[in-house]
Symmetry: C2
Subunit: 510 residues, 2 copies
């Protein structure tokens, strides 16, 4: 037995990896199978391993319990079986397990801690230079973001014409020196005819190892990795593989990444911009995930224009790109009603100043959209697209944040973390205020959050009951100030500064 | 013959009034008829006169042509007939005649001059103190507004609890000293039981004479009087009269006001807040206007929630209050398509800071909504509701303007006045810009107006054709600056400051 270390302690929801030498004749990615069985008194998990190159096969496992486990790794990759036992310790302080759907519309870590997603998007941050990746991680560390959307395949698009640090397959890419801002769309979906020469049955393990390193680095920062497995921004033919190669890719991703507790599966970004994939294809990918991911990680699929049918049973939460320039976060309550699942608006336009309308809203508008979504019991997603002398835009490349919204989103995350229960639900109140109460408690907990968006009332009047006492706080969501106004009974009036973006939090005193 | 003066010159579209003594026994408002016939080689107009109190009956006429007219005024009000002739001169410099619908979606004065409505609302400005009315007219004189919406009946509502300067009927009102901000809604729609004692068959001519004086003062400032004839904000019973009294009122208003060229008929404000009136009532009022207004003044009806059916033939233009907090002006193109009539968004929330969500948007948001409406080939309406130590709010009382939007609306009016033709039409362009071209010319005139709303592009690229030359101007709609960027051919790029509320005007050079 070789390549794994029994003595290493692992925590609950960490990775136990069995690494074994195996056959190298033919194509190890397709010609041999490797399976692992991991047993504990509470669970028995069967999973596929994968070929990691250089004669090494691996099987990875994430234990859901503490205590004694045994394992057996075997298959056609080797004449030998690899068996053993290991012990799982309790999770450490910052390890809460995978994120799960909880209370229909919200999320919680598997240990029961609330999880309020405040996500961002850096599509191919991990395929940039080492220096830039380091900077991105440093920025994330000091940011409010606890989820990040990014792609496994490289990206071809405006501001994304350079070569990525590595490619997922053996072979060679088309010559990128021909690309200009004017002609790049001609290469959208290009394949072999453009000079690409890939073997879609031979992965480049180094590319995937690097993605894993990135997932782990995010995990260590407490950030969920919302993996975009497929996307249309392609000049290499990765978006146009046949179903056999697609399925091989999906299986390889699951075998490699599923054991990371912070993984979410985003089947696609803008699935509807990939007409080469039919709904039956997406459903087949979903069935592969459901069959092969033993941990039931969150699954969603992101639209450009029409939503995917988020009522499909395998969809755990709605991943939504806004369909309208003006209204998006304001529709969260309708989406909740329609799908009865968590609503995550992972694209509501980005803070920035580029020429594209999806990438040039103000920080104020970004923060307003987050509050609108949150007070309706949903979640919004951040992104940033400021013109940059070296074309380093957070949205795709990571790097540094330049916008005004992140620190206000941190403030919002604080407000959410002070909510009883797992999240907010929209409350019927006045037509001209957005009101929320803790999910499932509809005011019975004596917690009310009112948001006035771009409206600028100079005062508002309230009445809950004659007898209880309520503490009133006026929140400036932009200036990030919470002002305690003291306690009130019966009918009372709250003076406001007649500014935009104000909120009022009212909590019954004990 | 008495009470009118042949020697007075009148202009085309001015008022020729025949004033005659008549019977006073019984109720002169209901017991006698007075009719006038006015003849010119091009028109013969029959119309009803009215009783103006103190034994005087009047018939009023607005001539549509220059040259010789004859008239005959007669009826049961008098044993005598009053006849004569008069001469109509050409219209003076600032007299363009009544406003008409032109080119399906727009307006023009009867003399063919374009009319781009930039309206405001001061519901009962003319029922305030003389001093305040004077101030309102002074403010209007220095404002961009060329239309104002106001009521004939007084208004009962939040910030509107005082007595008006006069009442439309003989009798006496309920005691208003009982009213408070807390209890006023209890008196909504009150009648006799609350202490009101009116004779709905005896008008107070002085009230109506004062309205006429106000209409004339507006006319002299070049402002259209969008008369709100009925409304629900009532504690006196005026909104709850029976159909006989309603019809008497409508006939009286038409007989008195129709000869003023700047009158528009707004059948109601928030017709749907008057459940006591059925659709058949509104249709009956409309049929009275169509029958009795010889000049075919513009007719509309304003909603609170559901729109009236603006496709009714008598509706000349859509009077629309927004149905959604977030989207209103952005829907103009859909409304144009649906109704094939001019779209006037006469209520899109007011600039201000009161507690009500309809009265506390920023000047920036107000101006943005005007531009959104204008670039889609419609028109928006202004209003202002800032808290005031004496409760003088422009929206209801007039007075002074305090907001930031009016001068920007003046700037927009200038931009509109520089458009070829009568107005703008929405143009299909990028999904992330609002584009307009002159109505009916769809770019063939080489005029394009692009508006970026809250989006903040740092540049945009254009291509119309290889050969023509285009002059490019960058417009800061908030700072009111037009920057000439010179002329371009073929594909060209326009640099922008990455700020909100920018527009680009592109015109083919000759």
């Amino acid at each position: 037995m070789a390549g794994f270390d029994y003595t290493k302690q692992i925590e609950r929801w960490d990775i136990f990896e069995v690494s074994c030498p195996g056959k190298t004749e033919g194509n190890p990615f397709t010609d041999y199978a490797i399976q692992g069985i991991f047993k504990h008194k509470n669970e028995t998990v069967k999973l596929d391993g994968f070929y990691d190159g250089e004669g090494i096969y691996k099987a990875r496992f994430m234990p859901s319990f503490t205590g004694e486990y045994s394992f057996e790794v075997s298959g056609s990759f080797s004449e030998k079986k690899y068996t053993g036992t290991f012990t799982v310790e309790a999770a450490g302080k910052n390890n809460h397990g995978p994120v799960r759907v909880a209370n229909t519309y919200h999320f919680a870590y598997e240990d029961g801690s609330p999880y309020y997603p405040v996500g961002t998007t850096c599509y191919v941050w991990e395929l940039q230079s080492e220096e830039l990746q380091k900077k991105t991680l440093e920025t994330l560390k000091n940011s409010p973001f606890n989820k990040i959307r990014f792609c496994i395949f490289p990206k071809h698009y405006d501001y994304n014409l350079k070569e990525p640090r590595s490619y997922p397959y053996e072979g060679k890419p088309m010559d990128s020196s021909v690309l200009t801002r004017e002609n790049f769309m001609q290469y959208w979906g290009a394949g072999r005819e453009a000079g690409n020469d890939w073997d879609f049955k031979r992965f480049n393990p180094e590319h995937f190892r690097h993605i894993e390193k990135s997932i782990a680095a995010l995990r260590d920062l407490g950030i969920e990795a919302d993996l975009i497995v497929m996307h249309p921004y392609d000049r290499w033919g990765f978006s146009g593989m046949d179903s056999e190669c697609d399925d091989l890719y999906w299986n390889y991703c699951i075998a490699r990444f599923a054991a990371y507790r912070n993984v979410w599966w985003s089947l696609a970004n803008e699935y509807d911009l990939m007409p080469q994939k039919k709904i039956s294809d997406w459903e087949r990918y979903a069935s592969i995930i459901c069959e092969k991911d033993p941990y039931n990680h969150l699954r969603g699929i992101h639209n450009c224009r029409p939503f995917y049918d988020h009522s499909r049973p395998w969809v755990t939460h709605c991943c939504i790109q806004r369909q309208d320039i003006y209204k998006c976060a304001e529709l969260v309550a309708e989406y909740r009603e329609r799908y009865k699942k968590p609503v995550v608006l992972d694209e509501i336009a980005y803070e920035g100043n580029i020429q594209h309308g999806w990438g040039n809203i103000s920080g104020r508008e970004m923060v307003r959209r987050f509050w609108e979504a949150s007070c309706r019991g949903g979640y919004a997603g951040h992104g940033e697209t400021f013109l940059h002398p070296e074309n380093i835009l957070w949205w795709s490349h990571g790097g540094e944040l330049h916008g005004e919204s992140p620190k206000r989103l941190d403030f919002l995350r604080r407000i959410l973390s002070e909510t009883p229960g797992l999240g907010l639900a929209p409350l019927q109140a006045g037509w001209d205020e957005i009101a929320a109460a803790p999910e499932g408690m509809m005011g019975t907990q004596g917690y009310f959050l009112y948001y006035y968006s771009f409206m600028r009332p100079s005062f508002r009047e309230f009445f809950f009951d004659e007898n209880s006492e309520y503490r009133v706080e006026v929140i400036d969501t932009w200036e990030m100030i919470i002002e305690d106004r003291g306690c009130f009974r019966g009918k009372f009036r709250v003076e406001l500064p007649g500014k935009e973006y104000m909120a009022i939090r009212i909590r019954k005193t004990l």
